[in-house]
Amino acid sequence: MAQAATGRSHRVRHVPELDLLPVMNLFCVIIPFLLLSASFLEISIIEMSPTEGISSGAGTTSLAQSEEQQLQPKIIMTDEELFLSTVFRTQSISPAFPEERDGEIVNSYDFEALSEALGVFRIELDRAFPSIPIHKITILTVDDIRYDNIVMAIDICADHGFNQPGLQVAAYSVLQRAITAGAGGE
């Protein structure tokens, strides 16, 4: 018996199939090459400004001579506290607190608070001394401050344009004198 006409075409449309094999071949070559040459640990450097020698407990830190040096801020790191010493004032930023790093309990500081304080200082500095570009900063620490804490402080400084860090290690008594002198000048 003849089928009734429905008005629809029953022709099957063949969609052309993409030949993905050449793409696969290309990928099979590229992926091993890239895997071999990939470096997942990227190494960079922090260029340090020339450092001054250690100040002995008996001596005093030599004060900056030029105007630029006088305006140069200092980050003072002791075992108990983190300070920011600037031409305007010396302020306590954060007390040291224990933090776990790689399974070890170590001293750390509130680096976000340091970032905020440096931001405020940068605005004040640009307003008061717009013609003097200040990029240097000194990290002044006691003997046993960990290297990673120093690097973290350097990173924060670079965020605010203080990208020429110098490291200076001094005895605790010298740092105390620097903090007291700065606080007195406020």
Partner: protein
């Protein structure tokens, strides 16, 4: 009596453009669905291309230490390498100073290290006839737990020996800035 088709009855089941062989599965074409694999490979290639560095890695990080992480994006250059751990100070692969309490309690340049670095600079000067600014740079690899006093002693030793620029080698983390 069963109605199941037998080999003998197969020709009766052939449809349009089908022959006996195709029905028996002898020339059956198996096509793999590669689309999902291509998707995966595309993601992998993009990721690998992003982490690809045409310059290569010119520095070997010592297994004895863990470098600190930093957002610095300053590219590393091939310079004299000094490795500082809490056990020893190594210059160009050669242990120069073993770290003890005496080293950690003083704050001046370390004489043995200054001598070794001066010799290296002098050797470079003799080999090349002259030394420029590029040769007066050192890369310092320090362990995260290295104490500031040790780092500072190494840096002041470098300065005294004539290496005016000291670079701290760090592991780059994302969100960096061009110093």
């Amino acid at each position: 009596m069963s109605n199941a088709p037998t080999k003998r009855h197969l020709p009766l089941m052939l449809g349009y453009k089908k022959n006996k062989a195709s029905v028996r599965g002898k020339d059956k074409k198996v096509s793999l669905n590669l689309t999902s694999m291509i998707d995966m490979f595309t993601i992998l290639v993009v990721f690998l291309l992003k982490s690809y560095s045409a310059e290569g890695q010119i520095v070997t990080v010592s297994d004895a230490l863990t470098l600190p992480e930093s957002r610095s994006e300053q590219k590393i250059e091939l310079n004299l390498e000094i490795i500082v751990t809490n056990d020893a100070i190594v210059v160009d692969g050669e242990p120069i100073v073993f770290v003890d309490e005496t080293i950690m309690s003083e704050g001046n340049p370390i004489p043995v290290l200054v001598e070794r670095l001066s010799d290296h600079l002098e050797y470079t000067r003799l080999m090349r006839g002259t030394t420029d600014e590029e040769e007066m740079k050192v890369n310092i690899q320090g362990d995260v737990a290295t104490q500031a006093i040790l780092l500072q002693r190494v840096m002041s030793s470098c300065a005294l020996a004539g290496y005016a620029t000291q670079n701290l080698t760090v592991l780059k983390v994302e969100g960096g800035d061009e110093r």
